[in-house]
Assembly symmetry: C2
Homo-oligomer: 211 residues x 2
């Protein structure tokens, strides 16, 4: 656990929140868990309310509809991962090389994805199940995130850090897939998060780097 | 498309099937599609029947219950991928090196996974949603498949083909995750399956191989 993520709660907020905000966060966390285990079609507001320790009508104070709540879960998961990776990249010392920036992004992505793992698995498992209109905001967010990774790879290619024979777009999708899927199998009782980060960085560096 | 997969139908069968078997296959294919798009909780037999062009009661002629049908979809997907990869490995010339065997398994896995993509996405998306008792058969099948990959990596390590500093178990899970997730994003209108296979093999060879 890095200091950056360690000082935050599961919602990713750094400061105490007003009560209404905390309740909204509790509903989102509960919805992420239910969406993750029941899927889009099986997610019922009464289960989300029970998980959050609220009455179902209270949810409507914060979210206009079931679909609005689900859309927010999908959006928030993608948005927070992107925000975290972006913050970590911005905090790197000037002059950090393009490949080191990719490896830092790999670490930041994995740590944050597994910290908010209910949001990650909710998104991974429902990628093809949530209707387009509900996915609209999160799809735009994911596209922006994908763009960030494309830029990281592009910078590495321009610096001559990538193997010249590589299809950088395919490699990028494969690597993001490997990382996202880790939320489904990684078991902290078998391997530490540090081990997982190191193994992923090693695979990425060996897989795409010039050597 | 390899010759091995090209001569098979989407169900993976090589010979014409008796009609009752074909109907059973049609129900399974339909259930894989519905399970993939609706998730475990949202999969209704009437939707499976409509997708298969049958009346719902006809499904009970082949499967005892909704859960039995879903368990069979999860099992069949895992079983056929394992069978295909196993066949491909068995057909390799004697003396094929351990790393070449891993790369052949990568190709076989990807081609078959994407050929029966409804089964793949049904399994990927429902990994954490299907109750344990329904997953029992497919979980055993997945464990056997995982064992096959562990043996492939073990042989490569013994032959000195793996980078000595690698955590082979973590690398294996990351690679299988990258491949399984390809069913969610690979778009044949952007990249051919040959391109995807080549990029994955390159990532694996660079990522785990000694160089």
């Amino acid at each position: 656990m890095t200091e950056q993520t360690g000082t935050r709660g599961r919602s990713g907020a750094a400061r105490p929140l007003p009560k209404s905000h905390r309740t909204r966060e509790r509903i989102l966390d509960a919805a992420a868990r239910v969406l993750s285990s029941k899927g889009y079609a099986g997610t019922r507001l009464q289960d989300v309310a029970a998980e959050a320790g609220l009455q179902a009508p209270a949810i409507y104070y914060y979210f206009g509809s079931r679909d609005e709540l689900i859309a927010e879960v999908m959006f928030v998961g993608a948005h927070r991962v992107r925000g975290h990776v972006s913050d970590v990249l911005a905090a790197l010392p000037a002059g950090t090389g393009p490949m080191e920036r990719i490896l830092a992004a790999v670490e930041a992505h994995l740590r944050y994805e597994l910290l908010i793992s209910d949001y990650t698995t909710a998104s991974v498992r429902n990628a093809g199940q949530v209707p387009d209109e509900v996915r609209e905001r999160s799809a735009a967010e994911e596209a922006a995130y994908s763009h960030m990774w494309r830029d990281l790879f592009e910078a590495a290619r321009e610096a001559g850090d990538l193997r010249p024979d590589i299809d950088a777009n395919l490699a990028r999708f494969l690597i993001l897939g490997a990382m996202n899927w880790a939320a489904e199998w990684w078991d902290p009782s078998h391997r530490t998060l540090d081990d997982l980060v190191a193994a992923t960085q090693q695979l990425v560096l060996g897989g795409i780097g010039r050597h």
